[in-house]
């Protein structure tokens, strides 16, 4: 399998504190990688570091699709095919969901055919069991927690990334919605052979997915790498032995 993303010796810090102390991570094409760890271990920081969200200082190397992206701003990484779903999606009052998506696809340098765009949006809204008028509503404004998570998946489907980093995508989803979202992610992966990095402390979202590798993160370091069997151990025994 060809390598899609390789991160080496990744450090992230704020002005007074180092949060990641040198993380190595690899994601191959079409692979599903899970990052687990207790609260405060640095899971979200890792997700945001891979994407290059500018709230920390970073060092280390990240290559994506053969390109050195460590110095690239997050928008350039997005244009190359990386996607990060937010744990807590940001509301942008006045900006309709559809309008945001249309502008973003154009910013990616793709031409938007309005008719086709509307049909695709409607199809995905239905698939995610979202109200058909959600596209006209303001981005993440007055949506429930679960709906916001679905909107993140909607954006993934519309933007068609090669690597989707999904940060706690199932928090706020009820059992049925989590099952639906898991299935939609799986279908997208089957269709595009994209890679997934699932950051979670809850295994529910993995039900439809074939996990290739598991990274356990503790105190800003990868403490353990294993296969799907390791998730079973963690489920039984917690992170004590991991």
């Amino acid at each position: 399998m060809s390598k899609l993303l390789i991160a080496k010796n990744l450090h992230a810090s704020t002005a007074d504190k180092e949060l990641l102390h040198g993380i190595d991570l690899r994601i191959d094409k079409g692979e599903t990688v899970v990052v687990v760890g207790p609260n405060g271990a640095g899971k979200s920081t890792l997700a945001r570091s891979l994407m290059g969200v500018s709230d920390f200082d970073y060092s280390g190397s990240i290559s994506f699709a053969g390109k050195d992206v460590a110095k690239l701003p997050c928008e350039e990484r997005a244009k190359l095919g990386m996607f990060l779903s937010y744990q807590d999606p940001v509301a942008i009052p006045g900006l309709p969901v559809g309008e945001m998506l249309r502008s973003t696809i154009e910013a990616h340098g793709k031409k938007v055919r309005l008719r086709e765009f509307k049909l695709t949006l409607a199809k995905y809204l239905e698939k995610l069991d979202l109200n058909p008028f959600s596209g006209e509503r303001e981005l993440n404004v007055d949506f429930s927690g679960g709906e916001k998570k679905k909107l993140e998946i909607l954006q993934m489907l519309m933007l068609r990334p090669q690597l989707a980093i999904l940060d706690e995508i199932d928090s706020g989803l009820d059992v049925d919605a989590a099952r639906l979202v898991s299935r939609v992610i799986r279908e997208y992966q089957d269709e595009t052979n994209c890679s997934l990095a699932i950051v979670t402390h809850n295994m529910r979202i993995l039900q439809s997915l074939n996990v290739d590798r598991v990274y356990v993160i503790r105190d800003g370091l990868i403490s353990c790498v294993g296969d799907v069997g390791m998730l079973e151990d963690i489920r039984k025994h917690g992170f004590k032995n991991a």
Partner: protein
């Protein structure tokens, strides 16, 4: 004419204007009364700095248009460029720039006039209305809502007004499409001291659109227009404005409506241009259940001092007002939102809500919020929210992770911020307003 004009505005100049229009006697007397008021009144002591307005040479602003730009090539480059950026057709550019050429809109205007005439609607210049069968109506309503005593520039307007529109919509008539004052811009003196008088009779409704997003160019840099709207019982009027005056303009405009029982007045305004603006559309809610909505966006860019807002007076029971104001300041621009909500003791169970948000796009700029609430009614529900701040880094970062550049993200957030106004406008105006926002966002970036 004498080679030397006397300093200041004189009765002779006013008589000349009136004579040229062949006005009835009452109008000449009205002009002369206004002139006396104007000369006696002080300049406003509050708001933006007007000291650069050459008030001693006010007659130079009032002279007929023959001394203004006549030639397309005399129009400054930046204005011509903006016309092109906005995609305004060439023929219309000339007219908008004050070149005074004949252009297609004249034809369109006549078509509109006859289309609405079939519904019994009268739409013409106020000069023509003064000599039509509606002359009695003009006499009865002209500057009754905004009397010359109101303020110095209302008095000036009363003395030297020229051009504008008169609209009368008969009872229970719904005007099918928006009327646009745009078609009248090439009238002599229009776009400077124009008077708009709109009377919408019981149960009728109208959408009137003023101006256009193209920067109207005038050598004379004072605009003191006046809009008066009479909304009768159960009638409704929407008055939309997108204005982008050239950067030398003092825009001191007065707009006012009086709304009778069950009537509804909607103000939609986008203010982008001018050097200084003082503009506060007002509604007097005079009858039971009358209502006003104001939706406005003001974008103060470099070298601009835009003092805008709204006034509403609740005089009757169950009247309601809703104010939604958005302001942006950028590149050293100065923005002031000024409002008055007055609720008298008679306005039992009145409701008023003001939501006023300001976005600072850099720290060179200034943003002020100056609302006033004067409430004398115990059963009235009054609420107000105001926020000032900048675009949050979180919002920008979120959009950047989806692949937008920082500038693109900012522009999109600003577009969302101003969406309340654009969605109130007809499609082509909304598109032009979004274009204007885009141009403002690009400047100096």
């Amino acid at each position: 004419m004498a080679s030397k004009t006397p300093k200041g505005l004189t009765p002779e100049i006013v008589r000349e204007i009136s004579a040229r229009k062949n006005e009835p006697k009452w109008m000449l007397e009205f002009r002369l009364r206004s002139l006396r008021k104007y000369l006696a009144m002080p300049m406003p002591s509050w708001g933006p700095d007007l000291s650069e307005l050459d008030i001693d040479n006010i007659q130079s602003y009032v002279k007929p248009r023959k001394e203004m730009v006549r030639n397309w090539k005399d129009v400054p480059d930046d204005i011509r460029q903006t016309f092109e950026d906005l995609g305004i057709p060439e023929a219309e550019r000339a007219g908008l720039a004050g070149v005074g050429a004949q252009f297609d809109s004249e034809l369109v205007y006549h078509n509109v006039k006859s289309a609405v005439a079939n519904q019994g609607v009268y739409y013409d210049s106020i000069e023509n209305a003064m000599h039509s069968k509606y002359r009695g109506m003009v006499h009865r309503y002209f500057m009754q809502l905004v009397p010359p005593e109101d303020h110095k520039f209302a008095a000036l307007h009363g003395a030297v007004w020229s051009g504008g529109s008169f609209v009368y919509v008969p009872p229970n008539t719904s005007v099918q499409f928006p009327l646009q004052s745009y078609f009248r811009f090439n009238a002599p003196g229009a776009g400077q001291f124009e008077h708009t008088l709109i009377i919408v009779d019981e149960g009728a409704d109208l959408h009137f659109i003023e101006g256009c997003s193209a920067p109207k160019y005038n050598i004379a840099n004072l605009h003191a227009g006046c809009v008066e709207i009479f909304v009768k019982k159960n009638a409704s009027v929407k008055y939309s404005t997108v204005e982008n005056w050239s950067k030398n303009m003092y825009n001191l405009n007065t707009k006012r409506a009086i709304v009778e029982a069950g009537g509804k007045m909607e103000w939609v305004t986008g203010s982008f241009g001018s050097h200084v603006s003082m503009l506060y559309p007002m509604a007097i809610l005079n009858g039971v259940g009358a209502s006003m909505e104001y939706t406005g966006v003001t974008f103060a860019g470099e070298g601009k001092d835009l003092d805008t807002g709204v006034k509403v007076v609740h005089l009757a029971p169950r009247t309601t007002s809703y104010i939604n104001a958005k302001s942006l300041a950028k590149d050293g621009g100065k923005n002031t939102f000024r409002s008055l909500v007055k609720v008298t003791g008679r306005a039992k169970n009145a409701k008023s809500f003001t939501d006023c948000q300001s976005l600072m796009l850099d720290s060179k700029s200034t943003s002020n919020t100056v609302p006033k609430f004067d409430i004398s009614c115990s059963s009235a529900d009054i609420a107000h929210e105001a926020n000032v701040g900048k675009i949050s880094e979180r919002e920008i970062n979120y959009l950047r992770t989806r692949g937008l550049s920082e500038d693109e993200a900012r522009a999109l957030i600003v577009r969302g911020f101003t969406n309340d106004v654009s969605k109130e406008l007809p499609f082509e105006y909304a598109a032009e307003m979004n274009n204007l926002i885009r141009l403002e966002m690009q400047e100096n970036m």
